[in-house]
């Protein structure tokens, strides 16, 4: 795990984090074997934060969320909600609410009764229930649909009922389990904006589980990237996109080029990798990273950071030669695949700003260049304690 940024500063140092996981481990019994779904997770989620748990299916993100909700108990470790230990407290006594993947609305109840369910169980006064449900339906833009049954509504509307049903209880945190997964692309994008607006309006901590990196990048204040039961990286969307801490994160978030080479020299906090004549990759060394000459290293560069030239470029940044193996015209941009000595199939995105024609064609010999700050060493190479 690499923490690239601390939790956002909270105004009051006495404010407790909304959610805290300490050394959480979850084992499952499956066909007589013990499977470790979550392998020792430490997380602190701040009050009012939009926090995403991002990872491929089976990475343990849903299990983690279910442990926060109280549907699963950790095998080891503790869960805290606002500083209070809730390990062992059943779901119905935890002050968090969940939006389920398939909404899990009560099919036999009207929209109003669905939303009022939690308040009724808490014994809130009748008139207060009517007022709060009305208010919440207003927020999710469903006023006037109180009497509908979930089965009579579209996917997007059901989604908003599920959201209202959870938020009306004013939980300390809202847990969302891939809530947009069942919607089509356009609706999903609309709901992303909606969710963000609603979160701002109600100011509740959102914990958002998703495997969709685009969704996580768009909405989150911070993202925890999980893989195989462990935390790979924790940081802001920009952090995670720009500075992937591992090969997994670089590959999972967006498109990333994985390059490798041998260190020729180290100077001024930079390592220079040498290839053929005139070719080099310059990598800034982050604090605590040490590499030495002759070492084989791996690095990532995002495709949109790379420039494509037909002539050798000037400057002292990274530049490398290659042969175009594929050209894909996408309207706003053109994608090139270039075979180089630092890596085969280097992907380059070029914006079609004013060119009416593609810069290069398949089989052309080209030069690639990018600013040194866009190269990132990945892995635990030479990390000094």
């Amino acid at each position: 795990m690499t923490e690239t940024q601390d939790a956002p500063a909270r105004g009051d140092s006495a404010t407790l984090p909304a959610i805290e996981l300490a050394g959480v481990v979850k084992d499952y019994q499956s066909h007589g074997e013990t499977v470790r779904a979550v392998k020792g997770l430490d997380l602190t989620i701040g009050e009012g934060e939009f926090f995403s748990l991002l990872g491929p299916s089976g990475c343990g993100k849903t299990t983690t969320m279910r442990m926060i909700a109280g549907f699963e108990e950790p095998t080891e470790g503790e869960v805290f909600l606002h500083g209070q230990k809730v390990t062992g407290v059943p779901a119905h006594r935890r002050d968090v609410n969940m939006v389920f993947q398939s909404y899990a609305l009560f099919p036999h109840m009207s929209v109003f009764e669905n939303v009022a369910f939690g308040l009724r169980r808490k014994g809130v006064e009748r008139s207060e229930i009517t007022r709060r449900v009305g208010e919440m339906l207003e927020i999710v833009d469903l006023a006037g649909r109180e009497k509908r049954r979930p089965g009579q509504m579209s996917g997007g509307q059901q989604q908003r009922v599920a959201l209202a049903r959870a938020l009306v209880n004013r939980p300390r945190a809202l847990l969302l389990d891939e809530p947009l997964g069942a919607l089509d692309l356009k609706l999903r994008q609309q709901m992303q904006v909606e969710l963000k607006r609603i979160q701002r309006e109600v100011g509740v901590t959102f914990v958002y589980v998703t495997h969709d990196q685009g969704e996580a990048l768009t909405m989150s204040d911070r993202i925890a990237v999980m893989n195989d039961g462990s935390l790979e990286q924790l940081g802001t969307p920009r952090d995670i996109y720009e500075h992937p801490a591992s090969k997994f994160v670089a590959g999972f978030i967006g498109t990333s080029n994985l390059l490798s080479g041998e260190v020729a020299e180290v100077a001024d906090g930079r390592a220079v990798l040498a290839y053929g004549p005139g070719e080099r990759i310059v990598v800034p060394l982050r604090e605590g990273t040490a590499v030495s000459g002759g070492q084989h290293v791996e690095l990532t560069v995002r495709p949109e950071k790379i420039e494509l030239h037909t002539e050798p470029p000037a400057g002292d940044g990274s530049m490398i030669r290659g042969t175009v193996s594929e050209v894909v015209y996408l309207g706003t941009s053109t994608n090139y695949q270039v075979v180089t000595s630092a890596g085969a199939d280097v992907v380059v995105f070029t914006q079609n700003v004013n060119s009416a024609e593609d810069i290069a064609a398949r089989g052309d010999s080209v030069w690639l260049s990018w600013d040194p700050r866009h190269s990132y060493l990945i892995g635990q190479i030479g990390a000094t304690p």
Binding site: H92, A104, S110
Partner: protein
């Protein structure tokens, strides 16, 4: 043209079957129920409506008893079947089909044989009562056979699967996440059951009620084997009138009376408990 006829051709066999073996006999029975006569001289159609009024006035108490037994038997079925169906649906894990099969296993044996075996189980000095009497837990004169209890117990047992299966299907169809959602929204086990599981399973119970109440009310085997003269149901009367007394008109009239009562009952039941409204009420 041929394409438009295809659906009709497809229902033709079943339609013919129903016409020949259901509609025609039914009409013949209806006609028979208004006839007069005897086996020796033959029966003539005289539109003798007194068959109905006389039948009802003579055997009205048996009709009431049949409906009463039907009600008690159905309630007993619900009480026994619901927990069984619930357990199989939610706690049987991978063994659901095994348990359903075990539940149905006795029903591969003939209805009569099953009921006769109950007679052995409930006999005055049989396995259960004999043993309990032997231990001095029951007085010597205690008996179960030839009581309403024996008949209703037999009826409930014989029609139990018709209650378990629809309830099981309804419970099985409940999305487990809906129950989790209830718990997430501060409902404890009891509240989650009362507010979510029970209302969502009610359609199964309603179906089960229709599938047990009708055959139980019309049954005659259990009363004949497990009951005494004071437990006679309308089914026994119809059977006796038809096969022993050859009084076909009265037997037919009684059959139609029972059928009419059951049809009206089911219609009212569906009307009053219209599944949707019941669910709405239960959801509050």
């Amino acid at each position: 043209m041929r394409r438009r006829l295809t659906p009709y051709l497809m229902i033709l066999p079943a339609g013919l079957w129903l016409v020949v073996f259901f509609a025609v006999p039914l009409i013949m029975m209806a006609s028979l129920s208004l006839q007069q006569g005897n086996l020796v001289d033959g029966f003539q159609q005289t539109f003798h409506w007194q068959n109905y009024t006389e039948g009802l006035s003579t055997y009205g108490d048996k009709v009431v008893r049949s409906l009463w037994y039907g009600l008690l038997g159905t309630v007993a079925c619900i009480v026994i079947a619901y927990p069984v169906a619930y357990w199989i649906a939610f706690h049987a894990g991978d063994r659901k089909s095994t348990y359903l099969f075990l539940l149905l296993l006795p029903f591969f044996v003939s209805f009569i044989l099953r009921t006769v075996s109950w007679k052995f189980v409930l006999a005055d000095n049989g396995i259960v009562l004999g043993t309990l009497k032997g231990w001095g837990l029951l007085p010597e004169g205690f008996h179960v056979l030839q009581t309403s209890f024996a008949v209703i117990a037999g009826l409930a047992y014989n029609f139990l699967p018709f209650m378990v299966l629809p309830i099981y299907v309804a419970l099985e169809r409940i999305d487990y996440r809906v129950i989790e959602a209830a718990k997430d929204l501060y409902a404890g086990r009891v509240q989650a059951f009362v507010r979510v599981v029970l209302p969502l399973s009610l359609p199964g119970v309603f179906a089960g009620v229709i599938m047990t109440f009708v055959p139980i009310s019309a049954d005659y085997v259990n009363a004949a084997i497990l009951g005494g003269p004071q437990n006679t149901m309308i089914g026994n009367v119809i059977q006796t009138e038809y096969f022993n007394n050859s009084n076909y008109p009265t037997a037919s009239a009684l059959s139609f009376t029972l059928m009419a009562i059951l049809l009206v009952g089911i219609f009212l039941y569906a009307r009053v408990l219209g599944t949707k409204d019941v669910l709405e009420a239960a959801g509050r």
